[in-house]
């Protein structure tokens, strides 16, 4: 956990430098209509930098803080997270081609079958039913439009 905390603080420090730099570029002085637009940005960058430096210092000095007693991710903990995150990203990517409902159905189906090892019947039933109900709620009843693909076009939406 200490390593992760250190890395995170360093990333935040770099981010702070970028933000402060952007503030300087925009100008932090006083113009005719009040503070220039970089004014707040610069001081935010400065504050973020100082605070991350303190976090970094804590991570280096306070070696036995309770937070650091457990690892950032335990053995075998990252796999289930990746198994949710990567298919989710794939679903978002697929949405560009087949629309959110079909992509969602595929995501539900794949996850239920692959991780949950549910029967094909249940998998197909839910993977079709859940997006269909969602479709009815959003598109038909509340008229909120989602990205749609060839299937919805075929059905006349």
């Amino acid at each position: 956990m200490r390593k992760a905390d250190t890395v995170c603080a360093i990333i935040l420090l770099i981010g702070a430098a970028v933000v402060a730099g952007e503030g300087l570029r925009l100008g932090i002085g006083w113009s005719t209509d009040g503070p220039q637009s970089g004014f707040l940005v610069f001081y935010l960058g400065l504050a973020l930098g100082l605070a991350s430096a303190v976090v970094l210092g804590q991570a280096i000095l306070l070696t036995d803080a309770p937070l650091y007693r457990k690892p950032f991710v335990g053995a075998g903990q990252l796999t289930p997270v990746v198994k949710v995150a990567v298919p989710a990203a794939a679903m978002v990517l697929l949405t560009y081609f087949v629309g959110l409902y079909v992509a969602g159905a595929l995501y539900l189906g794949v996850y239920m079958r692959w991780i949950g090892r549910h029967s094909w019947a249940l998998t197909v039933l839910l993977a079709v039913a859940i997006p269909t109900v969602t479709f009815l709620i959003f598109e038909v009843w509340f008229l909120v439009s989602m990205p749609k693909g060839p299937l919805e076009a075929y059905l006349g939406y």
Partner: protein
């Protein structure tokens, strides 16, 4: 009394059949959201916000606030039956609630929890009904320096009272402000922090951030634990309920004390969690059997639940009177107000009295409907957690994606949501609190314009925040809270007790 007249006017709006139906739907959805892992009040409201775009604003806010009440009730169900606090302020409820459930007294614990929630909420709603109008009238006299001072106080309370590592709370706040600054600067018309990218010009929607940080981030944390829910089968029998109520009547002092703690802590941001723990601590200190706390006593359920609900209601007070949300959920509702074309803040009381008083009256109806429904349908709500995890997880992710897209019909927002999900997961693990980040993202533009206007008024001198007595007092209070993490350990050292290192997050 003018206050009562307004309230009656509000009731005429809140008890129309359509608005009552909205309240029932809100409570059901909210309770489900509160029971489901990975969904809480804030992101539940965020996901369902797009559904309200076409509704009249008053019905929409009634739906959303009832989702909030429902989520608070739902959190109690999982805490008592499954030892899973749905929200941080339910943690204290698990201390005695779960032991009770394991002893087969789950029905009593749930009755106590729901009743306490109701009492706490009712107490706070009465106070809100009477304080809202005077507070709004006072706020009408506020200028930019006062508003900025209040915002300063909002954020300082996260640092001074939030618990955890104050430096990390500060980092979260600043990141929220930086994200809020991305895009077009409306005063000078310049682009900030866009680095030449057209996509970044729009900036970041905090609703997307809420769905990602709280929704996806929470899901990642839950699957990591490889949770399989093993709960206690719930059943609330009518006779048991009556017996519990008779016993609860003896705890009226605990109710009153906890409700007051909850209200007092609650209208400051991030107050619900400390309020629940504080009230639990007080109940133990004043109890005749303090040693029994933690083994399953009803009083240990009553105290935190009463305080948490009183705080949850109190968080609505600054939102409707000052336009400053007291909790992430209130922040999302504030975003809703802006989308429906309402300007949050004291002017609402003059321009849209039907909205404000309809909302306040709906707090009464919503909580009455809520307590009746959860008492009647506990088994149904608890059954939700028996749905296999491999079905719940993709379902929640799918619903999050829909919610994120619907905010502004943009696929880019769905990607942002995924990114915020990862950020939320990492930050949660490293003990960076997420609530201040969201609040800073919501209030960023408002706070900045208040700061700028104040500085323009004073030609750049920061002393303007000390000129009017109101803003001077608030600014001073904010500075004290900012300094509290520095002063606190010093005071403790003077008294000879060791300062504890950083505890776990509370928000």
């Amino acid at each position: 009394m003018a206050g009562l007249e307004n309230l009656f006017f509000g009731f005429q709006i809140a008890i129309t059949p359509f608005n009552l139906l909205m309240a029932v739907i809100g409570i059901v959805l909210g309770t489900i959201i509160g029971v489901l892992p990975g969904l809480g009040g804030a992101n539940g409201v965020a996901i369902l916000l797009p559904l309200t775009f076409t509704m009249p604003p008053t019905s929409a806010i009634i739906l959303l606030t009832c989702i909030y009440w429902g989520a608070l009730f739902g959190g109690a169900i999982t805490s008592v039956l499954f030892n899973i606090p749905g929200e941080p302020w339910s943690v204290a409820t698990t201390l005695d609630g779960y032991p009770l459930a394991k002893q087969g007294r789950g029905g009593e614990a749930l009755t106590a929890a729901f009743t306490s929630s109701f009492v706490g909420a009712a107490f706070a709603i009465v106070l809100v009904s009477f304080f809202a109008q005077p507070l709004a009238e006072l706020a009408l006299k506020f200028g930019p320096p006062e508003f900025f001072a209040i915002q300063l106080l909002t954020f300082s309370s996260f640092i001074g009272l939030g618990g955890g590592n104050p430096v990390k709370s500060f980092v979260s706040i600043v990141i929220g402000f930086v994200l809020a600054a991305v895009g077009l600067d409306t005063v000078t018309g310049k682009l900030r922090l866009t680095f030449g990218s057209i996509e970044l010009m729009r900036g970041f929607s905090f609703i997307v951030a809420v769905i990602g940080l709280f929704g996806l981030g929470e899901i990642f944390l839950t699957v990591e634990e490889g949770l399989a829910f093993r709960g206690v089968t719930p059943r609330v029998r009518f006779r048991e309920m009556l017996a519990t109520w008779r016993e609860l009547a003896g705890y009226w002092k605990t109710f009153l004390r906890s409700a007051m703690i909850g209200f007092w802590m609650g209208f400051k941001p991030g107050g619900a969690t400390p309020a629940s723990f504080m009230s639990y601590g007080f109940a133990r200190r004043f109890s005749r059997h303090p040693e029994k706390f933690g083994t399953g006593v009803l009083e240990g359920v009553v105290a935190p639940e009463t305080a948490a609900h009183a705080a949850g209601v109190a968080a609505m007070l600054p939102m409707i009177t000052l336009g400053i949300p007291g909790s992430p959920t209130a922040a999302v509702m504030l975003g809703g107000l802006l989308i429906w074309g309402l300007q949050p803040g004291p002017m609402l009381f003059i321009e849209k009295p039907e909205f404000v008083w309809g909302l306040i009256a709906s707090m009464y109806t919503g909580n009455v409907i809520g307590v009746v429904m959860v008492l009647a349908f506990v088994p149904a709500f608890a059954a939700i957690l028996r749905i296999p995890f491999a079905i719940l997880t993709p379902l929640i992710v799918f619903v999050c994606a829909i919610g994120a897209y619907a905010v502004s019909n943009s696929m880019l927002d769905v990607w942002y949501m995924l990114a915020f999900g990862v950020l939320g997961y990492v930050f949660k693990k490293l003990d960076y609190p997420l609530a201040p980040l969201v609040l800073a993202l919501v209030l960023g533009d408002l706070a900045e314009s208040a700061l700028r206007q104040s500085l323009i008024m004073s030609q750049g001198s920061l002393l303007i925040f000390f000129q009017s007595p109101i803003s001077a007092a608030i600014t001073l209070a904010a500075l004290v809270l900012f300094a509290l993490p520095l002063i606190g350990p010093l005071l403790r050292r003077l008294r000879g007790t060791p300062a504890s290192a950083f505890g776990s997050e509370s928000r």
